[in-house]
């Protein structure tokens, strides 16, 4: 449902009179239509595009939507802007630049223009290095930050929690020994 449709529907529901709080709720609740513009506050448009791509590589679309559809990039931008200490934010941004630099050095093209195999190879290398690095007082390596933010952003999104995993506001009963088959997926 896009913005205009949403307003129209509310208009109908409330007899043609716009009911402001309900409209606000509807608009914020249906942004997955893809139309609502997102302007990153910390990431540049190019960095944002790279983050969209990297997060989708970590949690891609399969039989359920992936990180891109769940707008994990928006969550990453929120964390970088309103949450992360400056050192972490800077390390993250430097990490993005490093991805570009490595791609240029290894494949002579921007990361987004490298082949899927090249991209996976580069990311695998980043993960291997991150896991091999001794714990540092400077904080986590870029790749681990990226991965953690992606998982957090995805599995706590409506898509991640309800389509990929499952979430119930009020289950109604407790069964501590139910067959996994019947319960289905991991609880979000």
């Amino acid at each position: 449902m896009n913005r205009r449709e949403a307003i129209k529907r509310v208009g109908l529901l409330f007899g043609g009179v716009l009911y402001a709080p309900a409209v606000a709720g509807l608009l914020s609740g249906c942004r997955t239509g893809g139309e609502a513009a997102f302007t990153p506050r910390t990431l540049t448009p190019e960095q944002n595009e790279l983050v969209v791509h990297l997060t989708e590589m970590i949690i891609p679309e399969t039989d359920t939507p992936g990180a891109k559809a769940a707008r994990v990039n928006e969550f990453v931008d929120l964390i970088l802007t309103d949450w992360a200490p400056a050192e972490d934010r800077d390390r993250f941004l430097a990490g993005l630049a490093d991805v570009e630099a490595r791609s240029q050095a290894a494949y002579q093209v921007a990361f987004l223009e490298a082949t899927p195999e090249q991209q996976v190879a580069l990311l695998t290398q980043l993960e291997d290095e991150a896991l091999a690095a001794p714990p540092s007082p400077d904080g986590q390596p870029f790749f681990l930050m990226l991965k953690q933010l992606t998982l957090l952003g995805y599995y706590t999104s409506e898509i991640g929690a309800t389509q990929e995993l499952q979430w119930l506001a009020a289950p109604g009963r407790y069964d501590g020994c139910a067959p996994l088959e019947e319960v289905g997926r991991t609880w979000a």
């Binding site: 995993l165 979430w167 407790y174 139910a178 996994l180 991991t186």
Partner: protein, 577 residues
Amino acid sequence: MYEHIFIQERQAYDAIVVGSGITGGWAAKELTEQGLKVLLLERGRHVEHGRDYTGEHKAPWELPFRGRGDRRLYEAEYDVQRRCYAFGEATRHFFVNDRENPYEHDPDKPFSWIRGYHLGGRSLMWGRQCYRWSDLDFEANLREGIAVDWPIRYADLEPWYDYVERFAGISGQPEGLPHLPDGPFLPPMMMNCAEQHLKAGIERAFPERKMTIGRVAVLTVPHNGRAACHYCGPCERGCTPGAYFSSLSATLPAARATGNLTIRPHSVVHSVIYDEEKGRASGVRVVDYETKEMHEFYARIIFLCASTLGTTQILLNSTSSRFPNGLGNDSGELGHNLMDHHFVVGATATIPGFEDRYYFGNRPNGIYIPRFRNLGDRATRHRDFLRGYGYQGGASRAGWNRGMAMRGFGADFKHRLREPGPWTMWLGGWGETLPRHDNYVELDPEQTDAWGIPLLKVHCTWGENELAMRKDMAEQAAEMLEAAGCTNVQPFDAYTEGGLGAEPGLCIHEMGTARMGRDPKTSVLNAYNQVHAVPNVFVTDGACMTSSACQNPSLTYMALTARAAHHAVEEMKRGNL
């Protein structure tokens, strides 16, 4: 500071109750039900049951920081409260703003004072675990020559445990243990498969130990007009069906129904007014939270239920020529003998198997392993420490979070997280602390808060007995998990000297600063929670505790409050108050 003092009509109320948390709610209910006109003074805002549970059932994606919280805000305004597990994006409005509500402690002796200043107090966020005490606890001080003797025994409290449990609704499994008496329980919650397996393993390896389902103030069946739990999980956000016990779901509605209750929110009680001629308290001074104006209210009896440290602060601040060091402080013990439970020590492990089993619903409860040390016989005696501890814990399957520590990314990686991970178990000890005179609170002689009340200064550390007990708490947890066939057994202990993680206060079972006793020379309160020298003032919150036992204390506060309230009314009828 206080330019106007508004004197309210004398004797408009029979009783004043200060604080609307777990104990204030009970005092209000019992006193109004017996016909007294009660004024309930609450320093915080009004909270409407249901309507104001703004975090209830919020989905993770509805929380801006997805549960991680607004770090910058928390650091600036909630630096203490954020240490509490229940504090977060969906519950922040139930915790005090630390910047606006300062207190002090020695720099190298941290004390975390976790508070909720609003109608209902911490009954809204509490963990609801409820365990009775027994004479093992009430006799401990006397037996060991520690501090002073309790002026009561289990027999004094037993009918009141029955009484409050019947009203509140406690679910649990009767076990017939003399040192953890059973009550009129509602049906117990179910242990999950991994816990059942563990229980069998532990009880086989240690026949004298027991694992039982947590005893919890959550309704497993409809009870007294309140609905049964629907297993949503995070109770600290509030519960519109009223399935867990709180002042708002249970005691205050009952008190209101009598027509005898007046609630005055935004009323910060400053001190108790002492009438030198009569030798009684005549009322309380209240600073209006918003206007900062001072009001006086009068009544025949006063119940202080402002929480252990809140009540102690009021008493210390109630000075007169008769009581220059705080109301009822003839003994010099007011403010002293501060206790909490010590915890965040135990073990975690993996429970192999049961991969084809999972759970449905979020059980707001865990398991309990009752105390098995120093039960009074030779077999359970431990050489290194007095008293004992119980374990709480639970088994669950790892969720998507484990992906953070898993190598890989992409479609396969995503797919693996769709199924839950291995069963893991944690067992954490809750240990008794000894009453020590040198763990105490006092008023800052210079600094006051925004309402003109001197800041509380806390001095509290764990002693040798607690630290020796912690070693055993970690070791025994690990041993039991090993014996029950767990793998990857990892003992843990969050305590560091002077550090955060298991510091005093964090367990939120602070108690003991106006203890009950037999002798006015060594205690503040008598056997019915009356201030020895000012018998129309009752203190029934955790300040009254003479020792701490290891059981979560609020059920005992409830029983003591109900008992004291009935005693107060009898004494009024006899003309003694």
